[in-house]
């Protein structure tokens, strides 16, 4: 308490007294006027570049599909801070070898730690450190005992009032500065429209560099129930997506990828829908390569879910089927869990 009034008195004259040079005060005045004008526009934060297609990705089935058998046993050992361990088993897939995976997650309001290790000893790690509500530093690594399969990625995310900035380095070498570096900036121009640019700088060897830019656009509906995005990448790649929330329980998404490079012209369109029902989630998807797929996630009890997935490739005449179970075993009895939940809300870790 004693230190507080003196520090105030040192700050106040600095603001109140006119700055020594008039040009400095003028430029800071202009800066403040621009800042307050920008603030008065009330533009929303456009969201990070990484989350540009978040809604589409969570609606489409592509990221959730699996085949063969799968079992996930997760144990929630603590609610606040979050501490969970997961044992995952996968078997009989046409594309992936049988695997066992152990994962651990720890999170509180400012730190998110995640790690997983598979039966071959490959470790995946993730660390998010939130410095404030809109400043997050993230690190990600993939470590393998095989040479050349390891990856390290460090990034920093800043969410401004009406813009987002992200810088990223993948496998940076302190010796000769080789690696992949990315920087992105996204700015809201109206309440609906946001435009952005992403720069990619590749330096595979000290004397070899390559820089490429991709351009992003995002249009959000006024009541935020539909989003359209477009991403133009170098070498003639265009990805356009559309997402709409039709009702509380139904979302639809469409994705179009076009490659129009000289010598290679290709396009894939995907159409998907997601139903969020009381005890289940159902996703169905159709794409222009002739694949029809569906995934049902049915919860029989709060701690037990059953998954069925299927895909038919009509052009290749092939099919895939998957079944899975997800079991969550709390370390506490339901009564203890309830009282814990009432006592403290689970934290929201930095994402």
């Amino acid at each position: 308490m004693a230190a507080y009034p003196p520090s105030l008195s040192t700050v106040e004259p600095a603001i109140a007294s006119p700055a020594p040079s008039s040009s400095a005060s003028k430029s800071s005045n202009v800066f403040h006027r621009i800042a307050s004008w920008r603030y008065s526009l009330g533009l929303p934060n456009p969201g990070s570049v990484e989350n540009l297609q978040k809604e589409v990705k969570s609606t489409l089935l592509t990221n959730f599909f699996f085949d063969g058998g799968r079992a996930d046993l997760s144990k929630s050992l603590s609610v606040n801070p979050i501490f969970q361990v997961t044992h995952s088993f996968a078997l009989g897939s046409q594309t992936a070898a049988p695997s066992y995976n152990f994962g651990a997650v720890f999170a509180n309001n400012s730190v998110f730690l995640q790690g997983s290790v598979d039966h071959e000893g490959n470790v995946n790690g993730r660390l998010n450190q939130g410095w404030s509500a809109n400043n997050v530093t993230k690190a990600q690594c993939q470590l393998s005992s095989q040479v050349g399969h390891s990856m390290l990625q460090a990034e920093h995310d800043y969410q401004g009032q009406d813009y987002s900035v992200n810088v990223k380095a993948i496998n940076p070498s302190p010796v000769d500065a080789t690696g992949i570096y990315m920087a992105s900036y996204m700015q809201s121009f109206t309440k609906n429209l946001a435009l952005g640019v992403e720069l990619l700088h590749q330096r595979p060897a000290p004397d070899m560099t390559e820089t490429a830019a991709s351009y992003l656009a995002k249009y959000t509906g006024t009541d935020k129930n539909w989003i359209a995005t477009a991403q133009l990448q170098p070498a003639g790649m265009l990805q356009a997506t559309y997402w709409q929330k039709l009702s509380e329980k139904v979302e639809v998404a469409a994705d179009l990828q076009v490659i129009a490079a000289p010598g290679r012209r290709d396009a894939i369109a995907t159409l998907g829908t997601k139903y969020d029902l009381r005890m289940s989630t159902f996703r169905a998807q159709l794409d222009s390569t002739g694949k029809v797929s569906a995934l049902l996630e049915q919860r029989f009890a709060p701690s037990f879910a059953f998954l069925v997935s299927g895909e038919i490739d009509h052009f290749k005449n092939a099919a895939k089927v998957g079944v899975g179970v997800m079991i969550e075993s709390p370390s506490m009895t339901p009564e203890e869990m309830n009282s814990m939940m009432q006592m403290s809300m689970p934290p929201t870790p930095p994402q």
Binding site: L73, K75, L77, S78, N80, P81, F83, V85, H87, F102, A104, V105, F106, N108, L113, Q114, G115, S116, V117, V123, G125, C141, L143, S145, S150, P174, V175, S331, M332
Partner: protein
Amino acid sequence: MPSEETKERIFKAVELGRTVIHYGWIPFIIYIGYSRSNPQPSLIKLISPLA
């Protein structure tokens, strides 16, 4: 430009750091989670998938 010797040293330090993270990351999370959890879980529940 760093000398060959410095380069060698940095390379060795990076390799060492990589090995430490590779073997230490999961135990580190488990230790942090185990020591900060509320209430503290029993060790057998931590490791075994069935308990």
